[in-house]
Amino acid sequence: MPLLEIQDLVVHYKIKTGWVHACDGVSLHLDRGETLGLVGESACGKTTLAYGISQLLPSNAYIKGGRIVFNGQNLLQLSMKKDGRLREYEPKLNKIRWKEISMIFQGAMNALNPVHRVGDQIIEAIVFHERVTKQVARMRVEQLYDLVGVPKDRIDNYPHEYSGGMKQRAMIAMALALNPKLVIADEPTTALDVITQSKILGRIKDLQSQLDMAMIIITHDVSVVAKTAKRIAVMYAGQLSEIGTTRQVFKETAHPYTSGLLGSFPSVKGEVRKLTTIKGNPPSLVEPPTGCRFHPRCPYMQDICKTVQPPAADMGDNHFSHCHFSKELAGTLSPEVFR
């Protein structure tokens, strides 16, 4: 049984002008100890999916269908109201949230409370969830600081005394404090410089294999997932376009959007190649395109793409692509340098 199984999850946001179809029928699963990279552009629904899993959706989000089964339990049964919104406070969920599923938020700069010492914020999380004394919790924080590579004498500092990289590391320590089974990292290194980024990604990778946690890394940067994840899910306009192992997605690309995304990234490795571009702009999720959502921008578009939503094409070995022509296009799509 996988640790996490999402089936046909549909999350829409209610806004003045209608409904934002942020997440429209996403299915994926994650095994224990596995890392999944969730890649897509801004507003493709990747953060909505993450907040759906951790049950942190805002009050204008309505879950219109689907299941989120974590460790054999459907989380939506616990927390969903009749109208599809999530209860703001649900005691049963508190046993799962942070204890079993924790998050590393985007922008650690704003995720820490500026008027409390960083160490106290982590101690608070431990004491809240586990019946331990503050002294025991503090010892745990010291171990965590060792683990993430922040000097122990910084435990009693305030967030403004930390550098950006240290804040992000403290956030990772907080996410790991209760030995969760699943950590969701939402753009964990986007605001950081490359050297700090490489240290943090390296640290995340080490910890993940040491502690046997499952992890979902959400990012727009394909080079970050290439470095950290074993499997990749590519999202476009609220839907999954391709999912498979990192190798499959990079080297046996089966979806034109993935191909465009990979082709538009420059690299310091190999020869310089002309970057390919995807024509047009990401669509509005209030009125998403009919049929395949990528069809207005797709260079291989046919009539069927305008009307029929493509089913998942099985490319073998758990590699799926939501494109009518995956089988025909496979082998021609991955940019030359990756083959």
């Binding site: 990289g165 240290k199 080079s223 970050v224 470095k227 990079f250 995304l261 310091v268 970057l275 702009n281």
Partner: protein, 356 residues
């Protein structure tokens, strides 16, 4: 046909030369610390380079290294503390008043965030025509309209006639940045400073904007100073790369030489750390220690010694001079030749420890 205003060309090969440019910012002190000496941040600490016609210089570095300040000094949005900025033979570092206004025709800037750099109340036409009006270019409305449309089309906004009535909120991020590019182009600049012009854009849009800027360079031979934190982007865009660290350019040279024969230990660390879109890439350990020091207290000797894994006593005491390891490729490191001859950074790269 209207042509953009031109300036008498003195030396076509060197459009811009800056020499020992320095910028200090004085920090505002709290009331209780008013008695002490004022603290200064050395944002730019003696930067020199020159840019030829049609050349793109990529300025790379971590946040806080001073790369944006260099761009703002060249466009004279900040006043330099010391140094020269020779633009087509004229030192523009200290010009003011009407000379400064006249000079703005020739150097334009593209900013990072097109959501903030465009006035939400200005239509596309007004945003792009504004510099023409301020600088008094074009006599009639028709002439200005023609210039605006040409600039928009050069920036890849076609058909321009349909877009000029729109407001920023009706445009996508990529279109906004193209409007910002058109606004820089419309006055017929001789030099463009682009400060992280693609870092706020969506991935699928980014490559298009970068290709557009390369096309513009090819078409008009406009030199660019391209400021970015991303060395992969810098490699794609530039002919020459300058790597900045704590206010100084620590290494500069032809792009492919910097990528393949990085000579300053900091450049080597950057290249080892940058993520590569290839799942099979073997990452070497990043040869760097510690955290970025504060620009208020720049380390003595070589400014990189506190983080350099190869640092010796010499590095702690003596600020290294620039060493030219091959034509046009120089690094501020006592051991530049040793690193240069090592080629690309590969994991076991111990430098024979030197004391001296």
């Amino acid at each position: 046909m209207i042509t953009a205003p031109t300036v008498p060309v003195i030396d076509a090969s060197r459009i811009l030369t800056i020499q020992d440019l320095v910028k200090h910012f004085e920090l505002k002190q709290s009331f209780f610390a008013m008695s002490g000496p004022p603290l200064t941040v050395t944002a730019v600490d003696g930067v020199s380079f020159s840019i030829r016609s049609g050349e793109i210089l990529g300025l790379v570095g971590e946040s806080g290294c001073g790369k944006t300040t260099v761009g703002r000094l060249i466009t004279r949005l900040e006043n330099p503390t010391a140094g020269r900025i020779d633009f087509l033979g004229v030192d523009i570092a200290t010009i003011r008043g009407s000379d400064l206004v006249a000079f703005r025709k020739y150097i334009q800037m593209i900013f990072q965030d097109p959501y903030e750099s465009l006035n939400p109340r200005f239509s596309v036409f007004r945003a792009v025509v504004e510099p023409l009006r301020i600088l008094g270019i074009g006599d009639t409305k028709e002439q200005r309209l023609e210039l605006v449309i040409k600039a928009l089309e050069d920036a890849g906004l076609k058909p321009a006639e349909e877009l000029i009535g729109r407001f920023p909120h009706e445009l996508s991020g990529g279109q906004r940045q193209r409007v910002a590019i058109a606004r820089a182009l419309v006055v017929g600049p001789k030099f463009i400073v682009a400060d992280e012009p693609v870092s706020m854009l969506d991935v699928s849009i980014r490559a298009g904007v970068m290709n557009q800027m390369l096309e513009l360079r090819d078409k008009y031979d406009i030199p660019f100073l391209f400021i970015t934190h991303d060395i992969s982007v810098a490699r794609y865009m530039s002919d020459t790369i300058g790597v900045m660290y704590l206010g100084k350019i620590v290494e500069t040279g032809p792009t492919e030489q910097i990528i393949n024969q990085p000579t300053h230990p900091y450049t080597r660390a950057l290249l080892a750390a940058v993520p590569v879109p290839d799942p099979e890439h073997a990452y070497p350990p990043v040869p760097i220690s510690g955290e970025l020091p504060s620009p208020i207290n720049v380390p003595k000797g070589c400014r990189f010694h506190t983080r350099c894994v190869y640092a010796t006593q010499l590095c702690r005491e003596v600020d290294p001079a620039s060493t030219e390891v091959s034509p046009g490729h120089a690094a501020l490191c006592h051991f530049a030749y040793d690193f240069f001859s090592m080629g690309p950074y590969t994991p076991p790269a111990p430098l024979p420890p030197k004391e001296g």
